[in-house]
Amino acid sequence: MGQSASGQDGEQRLMLLLAAPALLVVSALVLVPLAWLVGQSFYDDGLSLAHYQRVFNEAVYWRSFGLTFRIAALVTIVCLLLGYPVAYAAAMAKRPWNAVILALIVLPFWTSVLVRAYAWLVILQRTGVINQLLERVGVVSEPLALAHNEFGATLATVHILLPFMVLPIYASIQKIPHDLMQAAASLGGGPAYAFRRVFLPLSMPGVISGMTLVFILTLGFYITPELLGGGRVVMVSMVVSRNVELYQQWGAASAVGVVLLVVVAAIFYVVGRIVSLDRILGPK
C-alpha cells in the first residue's frame, strides 16, 4: 500500500516536471501580462480608480458592452445552428466525403481575416455580387443594405468562427459508437427520440466547447466589425483602442479589458452552476 502510494507520488512529480516548461510558458505569456494589465488599470499618475469610474459612469462603455455581448450571443447561436449539421455530416459521411467536408471547413483558416472581410464586402456591398444579381433578376429595385451594418458584421464573423464550432462538435460526434443509435432503435425509439435522448447528450461536450470558443472569440473581434460595420458597430475591442488614443494611457484601455474579463468570468461561473459542466464534460 505504502509502496504504491510513493510510486504514485513519483509519477506525479515526473508529470509535474514534464509539464514545467509548458507551465512556465503559460505564466510568462499569459499570467504575467494579465497581472500587468490589471496593475496598469489602477494606475493614473499614481494609484487610482479613475479608469474604472469612467467605465462605469459613461454610457458609451455600457452600450458597447451590450452590443458586444448581443453580437457574441447571436454569432454563437447561428454558428451552432449552421455548424452542428455540418459536423454531423462530416462525422457520418463515408471515406472520401468526410475529408472533403473537413477540408472545406479548414481551408478558410489559411486565408487572413482581413482578406475574408474584404471578400465579404465584395459580396455584400451595394454594388456587390448579391445586390447586382438581385437587381438583374428584378427582385429588388434598390440595393439592400447588407454591409456597413450589424448584419454584415455578424455574418462575416459567423463565417470566420464557424470552424471553431464545427471541429469540437465533429470530434465528439466521432466518438459516439454507431451501434448506440441502432440499440435505441431496437428498443423502439424513433429517430428523433433517439437523437434527442442518446445522440445529442453524447455530443454535448463538443457543443459546449464550440459555443464557448465562438462566444469568447467574438467578444474580442476587431477587424471584421470595423470593416463591415460601417463605423456603427462599436465593439469593446474598438473602445479599448479608442481609449489608448484618447487618454494616451494604457490604464484607460486596460480597465475596459479587465471589466470585460470579469464579466465573462462571471457569466461562465453562472452558466457553469446552471448547466453543471462537470456532468457534461467529466466522465466520472
Binding site: 459613461e58 456591398q125 456597413h148 470595423e226 463605423g231 456603427r232 489608448v244 494616451q248
Partner: protein, 353 residues
Amino acid sequence: MKDGIRLLLGGALATAAAVATLGSGATAEEQILFVSQGGAYQKAQTIAILDPAAKKLGIKINQDSAPDAWPVMKTQIASGKPTWDVVDTPTGYCIRGGEQGLVEKLDFSKLPNAAAMPAAYRNDYSVAYEFYSSVLAYSLKKFPAEGAAPKTWADFWDVKKYPGRRALRNHPIATLEAALMADGVAPDKLYPLDVDRALKKLEEIKPHITVWWTSGAQSAQLLNDGEVDMVMAWNGRVSALIKEGARVAYTYNQGILQSTSLCILKGAPNSAAAIKFVNEAVDPVLQANLPLNIDYGPANPKAFDTGIISPARAKELPSAPENASRQALMSYAWWSSPKGEEAEKRWLGFLQK
C-alpha cells in the same frame, strides 16, 4: 500615412528600428535621427528633402518611421534617453508634446526659413512641414455635370437637391469643421468650435451616412466601388483614384487644410544639427521638390515662387495660395486644448446614439 493607428505594433517596430539604427552608425560627422510616417510619403521626402538637405548641410540623416509617433515620443522622454531628434507628426502632437514637456521650444532666430512662413503655419514648438486637405469628393457617375455637383458642405448636407449615399470620417477632427460650415459658419470663423452646434448639425445628416470610415484606403474604396456617391476624404487619396482612371472628382472649396509639422524632441541627442535640419527642411526649394514626388502640398508658400512647381501642378495642391484661400485652416491649438480633447471624447457617444 494618415491612416488608422496601430499603436502597439508601430511603436514597437519604431523602437526596434531606432535601436538598430543607433547601433550601426557611429561616425565623427554630425548626424540626426529623423522620424516620419513611413511608406510612399517617407520615400518621397527622402528624394525631395532629406537627401538634398543632408548634402547641403554636410550631415548624415538617419531615418526611422513610426505610423503613430506619439506613444513612442512619450516613451522616449520617459526613458530619460531619447534617441529621436526630429519628428514629422500631425501638428497637434507637436503642440501637445510642447505642453507636456516632450518637445523642445523652437528658437525662430535660428530658423530664418521658418520665421518667414505665415504665423498660422507655425507655433512655439513646431513648424508646418507639408499640407494635406480633407475635401469633398464625389462620383462623376452620379454627378456628371460640373454645375450640378456638390461643391460645399451645405450641398453635402442637402439630401433633397443632391440625393445619394454619403460617407464621413469616423473621427471628429475636420468632420466638426465641415458640419459648422454646412451650418453657415465662415471658414475663417470656425474657431473656437461650437461643438454642440456641430454635433446637432451632424445629427441631421447621420441617417444618410452609409459609412463612417476609419482608414484612408477605405474612403477611397467606398468612392471607387460606388458604395457611396460623396465622401469627405483626404485629397491625396482621391487624386490617386483619379490617376488610376476612376470617375471621381473633388473640390478644394471649403476643404479643411491640415498639416504635419516638424518638432525636436526635448533632450534630443543632436539638437544643434536638428535645428539646422529643420530650417533646411522648410527651405522653399526643397519644399518645392516635395509635390513633384507625392500629392502633398509644400508647407512653405514661397515654394510656389521658385518656379519648380508648374502652374498646372499648383492647381492640384492643397496649399497653393488659390486653393488655400478657399479652405479652412485647421487650428491644432484648439484641438489639443482641453475643449478639443473633450470634443474627441464626445464622438463615440454621438455615433452610438
